[in-house]
Symmetry: C2
Subunit: 236 residues, 2 copies
DNA sequence: ACCATACAGACCGACAGTCGGTTTGTGTTT
DNA sequence: AAACACAAACCGACTGTCGGTCTGTATGGT
């Protein structure tokens, strides 16, 4: 009946189906049976690739934020950059990356995170980030302190806190972008900008950076703004 | 067989049993059957008092942090205090409150929060705080801005962020206190102090407060320190 | 006696996960 | 190129357990 596929292809298929369902009903309320129906395979097939429903969730997390982590580590490895440059480079890269993807996936991701349907997913994302991103971030902070641009006595606590806030920030942003897109509402874009600015100001304040050290303009006036234009252009 | 009890008493009994089990197995992996066994009642009894397992969880959340919210609202209502005084008063009150309770409940609460066993519980606590605490906190921030002691362009974002961080901070603290108590480790107390200081410094930095505006000494040198002494006295 | 509340426990549907068996692709032998 | 061998992919009936329901009973107040 069905063609045999490579494990990676089947898994992609399963992930695709699962995400659609998680976005509507949430992780808890999505049954494995409904996932396999959507994916067009059998129970046995599913459990051949995944040992549990939770293992699938972990695979999804890796897919969702693995790229971001890669970007982060890649930038950190560049020895020609100062800590401040690394930070700005990361902000630029992530925004560019998200800029490409956000519009096509905003509706879906927003639905995925909304209403606390997927607490487990959010938790897993946070754990993943804490494990993979926080140590690198701490390294960069220490570099910045050594270079004299960053001022903090609490690099470790700072790194963990930023990761925490960053994850929640991302999810909130996705949500708002979708709302803006759906309701063609220019005001929401102001809210988005405010949140962005607040987050960057928090970074500047707590790291003792000089005002305007971070690439606010590029994010706000550039990527985010053009993203907004794109959104408006699509719908209006 | 069983004495009839008032609803409040029975509920307290159920909550007690449930918390013990949640601490060991987590919310998800604790069955309603095991809760009623532990509490010594029947399925019918349980569902007479609670319409669902989740409703029990919400009751537990109210029990766990309702007091804190009350303290917060009570202080906010006092019109004789400046925003800064309110903030410090709250820090003092919460630490005093926790100082009384933390030792007897640290082991249990720590177990409850550890290992991500109770994501749903944490989420519910956060939602509760966001709904009940964040608006009040924003009011206080606005008062402070008006009084000229607080400096921020983002009172709403700040309030939400503080609540977020405060909840996670509390849970981390509980965890570390228990670890310190269990292993009689003075070094962990240093970690605790660091986290406290970082959190307060974050408040000062982002609210543009003058250094030392918040009652750091009282928290660190007073309550927290004496709490540490108590802990060491108990075990060492 | 009456009624509402508090409780008991057999029962149900739905779910995650299992298991024995079947198909399908791929290399290997003849 | 046909026959064989083997493993990975896949199937779907089945199971144990869970949250929740339902019908019935005991109890205390009025």
């Amino acid at each position: 009946m069905h063609k045999k596929l490579l494990p990676t292809e089947r898994k992609a298929q399963i992930i695709q189906a699962a995400l659609q369902l998680f976005a509507v009903k949430g992780y808890e309320n999505t049954t494995v049976s409904s996932i396999i129906d959507e994916a067009g395979i059998s129970k046995g097939g599913f459990y051949h690739h995944y040992n549990s429903k939770e293992e699938l969730l972990e695979d999804i997390v890796r897919m969702l934020i693995g790229d971001m982590v890669d970007i982060f580590e890649e930038i950190d490895a560049r020895e020609d950059l100062t800590a401040l440059e690394k930070t700005n480079e990361y902000i630029r890269k992530v925004n560019a990356y998200k800029g490409d993807k956000v519009i096509e996936t905003a509706a879906f991701l927003s639905e995925l995170y909304s209403g606390g349907k997927n607490v487990q997913l959010e938790k897993k994302i946070y754990d993943f980030a804490r494990e993979h991103v926080a140590p690198v971030m701490e390294k960069i902070i220490l570099q910045g302190v050594k270079e004299g641009t960053f001022k903090t006595e609490y690099p470790e606590e700072a790194a963990e806190t930023y990761v925490k806030l960053f994850i929640m920030h991302q999810q909130e942003m996705t949500d708002l972008f979708y709302e803006a897109l759906r309701e063609r509402n220019k005001e929401i874009l102001e809210t988005i900008k405010r949140k962005y600015r607040f987050f960057q100001k928090l970074l500047e304040d707590t790291l003792g950076l000089e005002k305007g050290s971070l690439v606010v303009e590029e994010v706000m006036g550039g990527t985010a703004e053009s993203m907004c234009d794109k959104i408006m252009g699509l719908k209006g």
